[in-house]
Structure formats: C-alpha cells, structure tokens
C-alpha cells in the first residue's frame, strides 16, 4: 500500500534532490546541522542467484525484521525496522544488489546496516578494495575530470603485528566524524591514516610515487567522486559500500552508484566464472566423464609477512575466532610457516579453503560461495595485514580484471 508522503519514485527523488541541495548549501556555509543527516546509500549484496532471475526481497530481508512497504509498482520500498522506526528507501538494482537510501543519523543507520548484514547470511556489503578505487580514479576521474577536486582517504591498521592479545576490535567511528569535517587529519597509532583533498591533476603528480614509497597509500578507504552535474561537491564511496552525498544532486549520485554497482557485479561474476570449484560432467554413450573446474585466488605478499604477524593472523582469525575477516575453521598446521584451513566464511556461512604461508595465501571458493568473498578478503587484508598485497584471480591480476571490465574488454566466457 502506498504510504503518505511519497506516492511515486518521482516524488521521492524530487524530495531527495531538494534535501541534497539544502545539505550541500549548509556544508558550503559550514553550518551542517547535527540533527540533519546527509543522504547515505548502502549497496547490499544478496546471496548468489538461484537462477530464478528475480529477487525475493521479503524472504531476503526477513531475518532483519525490516518492514517494507511498496511506494510504486516499479520496485521501490519504504523500509522501517521491527520497532517501526524509519530506515530509508530500498531500491533493488538487480537480482543480486539492493540499494538502501537513508537520511537518518549516520552513526545509528551505519550501525543498523552493519549489524543486520553481520547477522544475516543472505546479505553482504559491497566491498571496494584499493585496486577497485584506484581503477576508478585512474580511468574515470583522472582523464575525465582533471580540474575537479577529489578527496581520498587512505588507511592501513597493522592489526596483526605484535602479540596475539593486541588485535582489538575496530570501530568505524572515524566515518561518523566525516560529516561535518572539512579539514585534513593525520592520525598515527599502529596505523597509517591520511586524507587528501586536492585537485585531480595535482594528486596525479604524486600519488604513484607515494604508493611506491609507502604501500598504505594503496589502501584507499574512501574516494570522493566529483559530481558531474553541478561542478561542485561529490559522492564519497567507502570500502564497505556506503556512499555519502556531499553534492547538490541526489539523482546524479544515484546514477554514479548504479554505474559502479553494475561494474562491481560484472567483476564479481567474472571472478566466479574463473574460480568456482565445481564438478563438470560430460555424458558419454554409456557412462559420463567427471571433471573439476576452477582456479585459485592467490594473494601475494612482497616482502613476506614476518613470522609473528603471520602466526598472529592465523591464531586470531581461526584459533580465537576473532578479527575483521570473520572466518571459521581449524588450522591444520603443516609447519610453523604453513596452515591449511577448510573453513567457513561467517558472513554468509559458505565454504572456503585456505592455504596460508607468509609469502602468499591461496584461496579456493567452492561453487555457491559468493565471489563477494574475494572482494571482502582483498579489502580487509589490504587494510589490516598488507596494503601492498597483489591478488591474482587464476593467473590474472585482480586489478587488471577490474580495469578490463571497466573498459569493456572483459569477455564473458
């Protein structure tokens, strides 16, 4: 049943366009009200498609308790939580991706979305790794918008250095502070964290050298993509699929999110086509031939992880069941430098096989384990273990796969 207020997509988008403009004007006057949240969108991935081609939103969201009410016939919903508090507006983008638009207070809505994604096996976030951001920067922003201003945030936290007892739980409070924050910040603890706001062509002069000199500059945590309609402001894409609107135009930001989500979907499908471990069968006259298809994902560390860091990673992640990767399994230690884990990815409760050494991690995903797991692994390993990690999908660099998909060179097999 249509809810009062918005009877159509048109009405909602007009409202959000006005809302975005008002907030941007407040930002420009340095008067962004604490009680008025910026528009945020969250890109959510559902479990791999079952072949039906249609997403069953009610079934997918039932574990969250979210109440959805159709706004129009074109797949747009108002979303409230179990207690009736408004969350935002949900827009299915494909059979695999949902976008939640919200104007609620950032800290609350961030925690709500993260919490439900964590607790729901059929939901995950869109995970944008440093290589993904860098390709967007290099191919979309640098040649097309050289005179615009962008903002980049880099962050690497050496979570697994030191003793096993020191890997504390991280909070993303820094993101909450971004909303009213306009300056630069350099923060050092056991981490490298830096934000740059500068003209695109100027950043291009030093960023590659910075990345060579200091690998944490590869761990991009946020990229603000300039607005293409207003000439000012932009949309901040965070590693975990949150987008904050800091421009005048909701529709423009939404278009950018849709483009990037479609790119992400194509890359994810290309990963799954390449790596899924699966049985193949060829029928013969009186029998059949069975084969096994797939390819490993290999994450290379150069220089190798030092032994205490490697062992701390294995112990924290598996033996203690802690840390940001949320992987489950019993390490089979083949030596002090090698462990095999036939485990489970607790985001989705799907199987994952890992062969870990300080030089490289080899990962096998059985068919059905979402390719999103690869994006999440790369993002988090870059952020917490080695910002310079090089990832291969089969024999192909992950970054090259993203580039080729972006340029339309990736062929469907």
């Amino acid at each position: 049943m249509p809810i009062p207020g918005f009877r159509s997509r048109q009405e909602l988008f007009d409202f959000l366009d006005d809302y975005a403009r008002e907030r941007k004007e407040e930002i420009d006057r340095w008067q962004l009200g604490k009680r008025k949240g910026l528009i945020k969108s969250y890109v959510l991935e559902t479990a791999p498609p079952d072949g039906s081609g249609q997403i069953d939103i009610a079934a997918t969201l039932s574990p969250t308790g979210w109440q959805i009410t159709p706004i129009d016939a074109a797949m747009l919903y108002r979303v409230d939580n179990r207690g009736g508090k408004h969350l935002g507006y949900l827009e299915p983008l494909s059979h695999r991706y949902l976008i939640l638009h919200s104007i609620e207070e950032a800290r609350w809505i961030d925690q709500t979305v993260k919490g439900h994604v964590k607790e729901t096996a059929s939901l995950d976030s869109m995970w944008l790794a440093g290589g993904f951001f860098f390709n967007l920067w290099q191919i979309l922003i640098l040649p097309q918008l050289p005179e615009r201003y962008v903002k980049l945030k880099f962050e690497h936290m050496a979570r697994f250095e030191g003793s096993a007892g020191e890997a504390e739980e991280e909070t993303d409070e820094d993101e909450e502070l971004e909303e009213g924050w306009m300056g630069e910040e350099v923060e050092e603890r056991r981490a490298s964290s830096l934000m740059i706001a500068e003209r695109v062509d100027r950043i291009a002069r030093f960023l590659p050298q910075f990345q060579d000199l200091h690998p944490p500059f590869k761990a991009i945590k946020m990229l603000r993509i300039p607005s293409t309609t207003t000439g000012r402001g932009g949309y901040e894409f965070w590693t975990w699929g949150k987008i904050t609107y800091r421009a005048h135009d909701f529709r423009d930001g939404r278009s950018q999110i849709i483009s990037i989500t479609r790119l992400y979907e194509q890359v994810t499908e290309a990963i799954e086509r390449t790596i899924w471990l699966q049985m193949g069968e060829t029928k013969l006259q009186e029998s059949s031939d069975t084969t096994l298809k797939g390819a490993p994902v290999t994450l290379e560390f150069d220089p190798p992880l030092d032994l205490p860091t490697f062992q701390n990673f294995v112990t924290t992640t598996f033996a203690r069941g802690q840390g940001p990767l949320r992987l489950w399994g019993n390490p089979i230690y083949l030596s002090d430098k090698k462990a095999h884990i036939y485990g489970v990815d607790l985001h989705l409760w799907q199987r994952i096989y890992l062969d870990l050494t300080p030089r490289r991690f080899v990962v096998i995903l059985p068919r059905g384990t979402c390719g999103n797991t690869v994006h999440r692994l790369v993002t988090n390993i870059q952020r917490y273990l080695d910002p310079g990690v090089r990832t291969f999908i089969g024999n192909r660099l992950y970054d090259d796969l993203i580039r080729d998909t972006l340029l339309g060179r990736e062929n469907r097999l």
Partner: protein, 353 residues
C-alpha cells in the same frame, strides 16, 4: 640440494597435477600443463579396453584388466593429444599385479580414447600415458613401461606411448623430473633442466602440500594422518556451512548427499563404490551426534532416511544454533571417521539419524 623427509603420497601427487592444469601465478605454482593448453578432461573415468586387445592379450597370456581408470585425463586441442596421468608412490615391475592396469591403460590409444569421447576426426588424436612417481623412481618406472610396451607390441596390440616422471621435494621447491627416455608431449618437460622443472617454490622448512581439492580416493585409502585430518575438517565444514547458511528460513532441509558432495566435489565418482560405505556410515554417525546437540538447544529436527529437516526455526533459535556452530567446543570437537564402530554403524538405518 637436499631432499626433505616428506614423501609424496598419491593424493598429494593427484592434487598437485590438478593445480598444474589450472591457471595460477608462479608465486603459488607453475602450471605447466595449463600453459601449454592442456585442460582437465576427466577424473577417474572408467574406460573399457578394446575387445581385440583383450583377446590378443589372452592369446599371448598377458594379464590385463578389462577396464582402465587413469586418475586424470588431460586434453590438448591444439596438438590433438590426450594425456592419461596415473599417480604412484613408487615404481613396480612388469610382473607385479599393478602392471595389469598399466597394460590396460597402454592399450587405450589416442584414436580409441578420442572416439570414446566423441571427438570428430578421432584418428588424428594421440594418446600418452604418464606415470607420476616419487622422486628417484622415474627410471625404474620407465623401464617397466618400456617392457610392457614391448610385450603388447609382441602380442600385436596397438599401444599408446608412455613415460614416467618423478616428483622431487627439495628444500627450495617441488621439481618434476622426467626420465630421459620418456619424451613426454609437454614442452616444459621435454626441455627440462638436469635437476627437473621447478613447479613450486618453497621457503626453508616449508611443507609442499597444496590444498587438497580431492581429499579422498577410495581406491587409494587414507592412511596419512594429515590426510585424515583434512577429511575430518571437510566433514565438519560441510555440515556447518549447510546448516548455518540456511537458518534464516523458518524451515530447511539438508540431504546426506549434499553433505558428501560438499566434502568432496566429485563424490558422484565414488558414491556407488563399496569402499565408501564405511565412510558414509561414519559421516552419518557424526551428523547424528551433532543433531543431538542441536536438539538440546531447542531445534525441531526430523530425521529421514536420506535427509534431515528443521522446522519452526525462529530468529532466536537460529542465533543459538549458529552460536553453537561457531563455538570452540563444536569446532574442536572430535570427529571419528575411522573406527570400526562408526564405519560399521547401521543403527541409524532403523531410527533415522
């Protein structure tokens, strides 16, 4: 370079050969088969030996098996070649019982195999039988293959070419060393340096084993403690994932075959094998123990002959069950797949799970 103490098992060899036929970066493995266009065609196919070969072998008093089942068959379309791979820890002589299988494999020529697969212009295809053996065994294995080839030739049986290569585990890596007489149709092996082709780099003291894509082969058995452990963890992993991923629905089912297929993707190859009955029983006994724990947590579970079904799964029950599956107690709990008590346990047949 010193050889390490790790002795390649057939399961290690089989899994290494699989990885050599998949794309990968050199930091993990040098996929020599994949680089030359070889693709995995089949695992453990059952191939009937040509009837005329069986007849001529019988006439010549040559022991030969009526069916051949190589561990892997690779196919290279560009050169129209089929590569049959057989993995053994050590070599054997022409008089051994194992040579009956070798004669059967050699009697399956390229055109015969191509015809069986249904390839057009099968006559143009070549076949090659490659024995992968432990390091140092390649020369005696090559002697055996040559002797068997001569026997077949004398009996007027057409035979494929065959050769042997050894897997040498050294401190700095894993090397494939073909016998000098082998002429294996893989360029990287034909141009092998004197100490072999390095396919995997190892740090000092690093174990060479890759992940086991195939953790189980009933024709080989599982004696190695580490390989047993892999199988145990695969069973635990399969059950955890199949139940844990479905608990968001108010009701769910898990079938025994789903568990076994998650334990090894190619379970269908062996599901009718007598050698797997004990394994199936043992997995069923373990699942029954886990279900008992889950029932104690409030789960409503009905057991049927080939599957079990959860009903009335509320968010609270789902949370409690997941918490249990994620707990150290469950993760570290003992799994017995090997004792006679569980392998011969048929009690579940009468009472369900």
């Amino acid at each position: 370079m010193n050889e390490t103490l790790f002795a390649p098992t057939p399961l290690f060899q089989l899994n290494l050969m699989l990885f050599l036929s998949w794309p990968a970066p050199p930091s993990f493995v040098e996929p020599i088969f994949w680089r030359e266009g070889f693709e995995l065609r089949s695992i453990a196919p059952s191939i009937g030996v040509p009837l005329e070969a069986l007849a001529r072998a019988q006439t010549a008093n040559l022991p030969i098996q009526p069916t051949a089942s190589p561990e892997l068959v690779l196919e290279q379309n560009s050169q129209q070649q089929l590569l049959l791979i057989e993995c053994k820890s050590s070599s054997f002589g022409p008089a051994s019982s194992t040579s009956q299988q070798s004669r059967a494999l050699l009697a399956c020529t390229g055109p015969y195999l191509a015809e069986r697969i249904g390839i057009v212009e099968a006559m143009a295809w070549k076949g090659y039988l490659l024995y992968v053996v432990g390091g140092g065994q390649e020369s005696p294995m090559q002697d055996t293959l040559q002797a068997l080839g001569q026997e077949l030739q004398a009996a007027r049986i057409s035979a494929a070419n065959g050769g042997a290569m050894g897997i040498h585990i050294r401190a700095d890596g894993v090397y494939l060393s073909p016998d000098a007489r082998s002429n294996i149709p893989v360029q990287a092996l034909r141009q092998s340096p004197a100490n072999g082709v390095q396919v995997m780099t190892l740090e000092q003291g690093e174990d060479p084993r890759p992940l086991y894509l195939i953790p189980f082969d009933p024709s080989i058995g599982v004696d190695d403690p580490a390989e047993r452990r892999v199988l145990e963890e695969r069973v635990r992993q399969a059950l955890t994932s199949l139940i844990g991923s479905r608990l968001d629905m108010p009701s769910l089912e898990v079938a025994m075959d789903e568990i076994l297929t998650a334990v090894t993707e190619v379970w269908n190859l062996w599901e009718n094998s007598r050698a797997t009955i004990g394994f199936r029983n043992a997995v069923r006994a373990y699942v029954r123990d886990v279900l008992r724990q889950l029932r104690n947590l409030g789960a409503h579970i009905e057991s049927h002959e080939h599957h079990f079904a959860f009903a009335q799964v509320t968010p609270n029950i789902a949370r409690d069950l997941r918490r249990y599956l994620d707990s150290a107690a469950f993760r570290r709990g003992e799994i017995d797949l090997w004792s006679e008590a569980v392998q011969l346990d048929f009690s579940s047949l009468s009472e369900g799970w």
